[in-house]
Amino acid sequence: MTTAALQEDTPGKRAPLVLGHRDFNAVTETVAGIVEKKTTPSWLVLLGLAVSVLLILLGSLGKLAAEGLGIWGLNNTVFWAWDITGFVFWIGIGHAGTLISAILFLFRQKWRTSINRAAEAMTIFAVMSAAIYPVFHVGRVWFAYWLFPIPNQMSMWPNFKSPLLWDVFAISTYATVSILFWYVGLVPDLATLRDRATTKVRSIVLGIFSLGWRGSHRNWLNYEKTYLILAGLSTPLVLSVHTIVSFDFAVSIMPGWHTTIFPPYFVAGAIFSGFAMVVSLMVLARKAYGLEGLITIKHLENMNKIILLTGTMVGYAYAIEYFIAWYGGNEYERFAFINRAFGPYKWAYWTMWSCNVFSPQLFWFKRIRTSIPAMFVISIFVNIGMWFERFVIIVTSLHRDYIPSSWTYFRPSLFDISTFLGSFGLFFTLFLLFLRFLPAVAISEVKGVMPQADPHAGHGDDHGHDAHDDHHEEASAKSDESEDESEDEGDEGDEASEGDAEKDEEESRG
């Protein structure tokens, strides 16, 4: 380990969040440049691929609407399979975006700033992909609005005591709040793009969507407060959403589902799978768009640490489920769990263990958690593993119920597979459009965490770490000192530490 790497881990001397001697304008150029430059052929090829897969989804859903649920592989015993698996899979992925944008914000984790925009976009698109399943699983999709409590001529209401109705409220609130939060974050960056617009159409369209934002500090004051409030609202919201998703199972009296550990276990799993998806996407996006200086190895390493933590929590949950199945003494519960690990679906069960619990353990090694190819492969494994987790919970609990004569083995139909595959088409189409037309990195937030952004910059070693907030309180007391500091900002100490981190990054990559 080099001295620079050692320094990086010393508390108080933090790795810089932005590499490569960037000033404010360079950040604007890097991020806005992606949106403003001409469409690249490789982006068009990727979009073409994503749209083709999206068409598979539309075809599958059209067939479902025309013929009914019989085209899926469901049967009387396994009445819920790939549909709810896909739903929980996508909702879980969405949770990392909210975790990064809200929970890490409340914990003042400044490294979140360069990944939060893309992660929030991922949340919204993942929730859209998830919403397909419940909406189409109602069978007659044109009546999907019956899920909401709308006065009707039969004077009937949905069952408010059912977790499925709680889910309707949780998911629709989650989708709405995520979109509002994302848009609030986008407004100042859209104003930046508006002020750089070279064509009339661009400046009008961006002008409308940026709402005439002009960066007034009177506005910033309310803006920052609102951002904090939205983060404070999203934090319990995201925890409630996956808790309620887990209630879909835990509130039923089905061996393998009826477990009080489900809410925390599902939330940990959601964050785990979401971070894996963020790592997969960011590794590709930063390479494709030259964002290595903004989304650094340090950012990816931090995410890998969270994957390691949540992966271990998920492993603990798998183990404790077994303990309770044995300790609880209920023979149906015990059978459900023995059947899970050694029954006909044991291949799915052990895939889940290998991908979710064993593979992230490699992140204990710094070499692995800072290696781009290794983290990409592990993040894909985690995504696969988390899909299998939901499949295992749902299908293995259902396929051997109380009456052995109705036991069955679930096999997906072609349309189960094509609907799930197609949902990736929807997700990637939206994500590619986002990367092309909206700033993928929060420009104003990244500027705010740069050392030069501290109005008291230039006092000795303050650069590059989070001394910023401590100064905040002393703003008025220090005002006299700050008179002649403007000239010497960006001093040598600062640049040297940036240089070191860059070198360190190269070393760890190579």
């Binding site: 408010f160 500090h217 319990p236 104003s444 030069q452 952004a453 005002s479």
Partner: protein, 188 residues
């Protein structure tokens, strides 16, 4: 009122000064300038920055944001709406499930929580634009020739003409002394 007269009046109005604008290249200089303006007794001045400069509100002497009160009000309305909705539904069409009472509020906690959050978030979102008076597609400060840099890398200060202490030459002198660049008087 004849046409020519009205035209003249419009022109006069158009030429009314909005205020003096200048910019700095670092947040430190801007904060220093805002403090000096505040100490000189100016009230109607504003800073335009590419990102929120922390502590600037103290330097400018701004009161704290009213947003929390708006959100609290909306959240309370959300909670009450959820209670009203679940209560009404339980009595309008009673569903007896495992012999539980109609209004089993324990089962409605998730609904109450979600609607509280939903209403609060709407309050925060629409309240923010309401308090900030946005969307506002025209603002005099956007007339400064370097204004596009306010969302990029320049830190603007605007002293508005409606300030009682405003005096075109004296205020300009003060801004010059503080080191502001490209000081321009923008019109309404």
């Amino acid at each position: 009122m004849d046409k020519a007269h009205r035209h003249e009046e419009l022109e006069e109005e158009a030429a009314k000064p909005f205020g003096l604008m200048g910019y700095f290249l670092t947040p430190g200089e801007l904060m220093h300038a805002c403090e000096k303006l505040k100490n000189a007794g100016y009230k109607d001045f504003d800073a335009q920055t590419p990102f929120p400069v922390h502590g600037l509100e103290k330097a400018m002497g701004l009161p704290p944001s009213k947003m929390p009160w708006i959100v609290l009000t909306c959240g309370t309305v959300g909670l009450l709406s959820a209670i009203a909705l679940t209560a009404f539904v339980s009595f309008d069409y009673p569903l007896v499930i495992s012999g539980k009472p109609s209004f089993s509020y324990q089962a409605y906690v998730p609904i109450m929580f979600e609607l509280t959050v939903l209403f609060s978030a709407f309050g925060a979102f629409f309240g923010l634009w309401g308090v900030n008076r946005l969307p506002m597609f025209y603002h005099p400060s956007m007339k400064h020739p370097s204004f596009p840099r306010a969302t990029d890398d320049a830190f603007f200060v605007t002293v508005e003409a409606k300030d009682p202490k405003y005096d075109a030459s004296k205020t300009r002198k003060l801004l010059e002394d503080l080191g502001a660049r490209e000081i321009v008087e923008v019109t309404e």
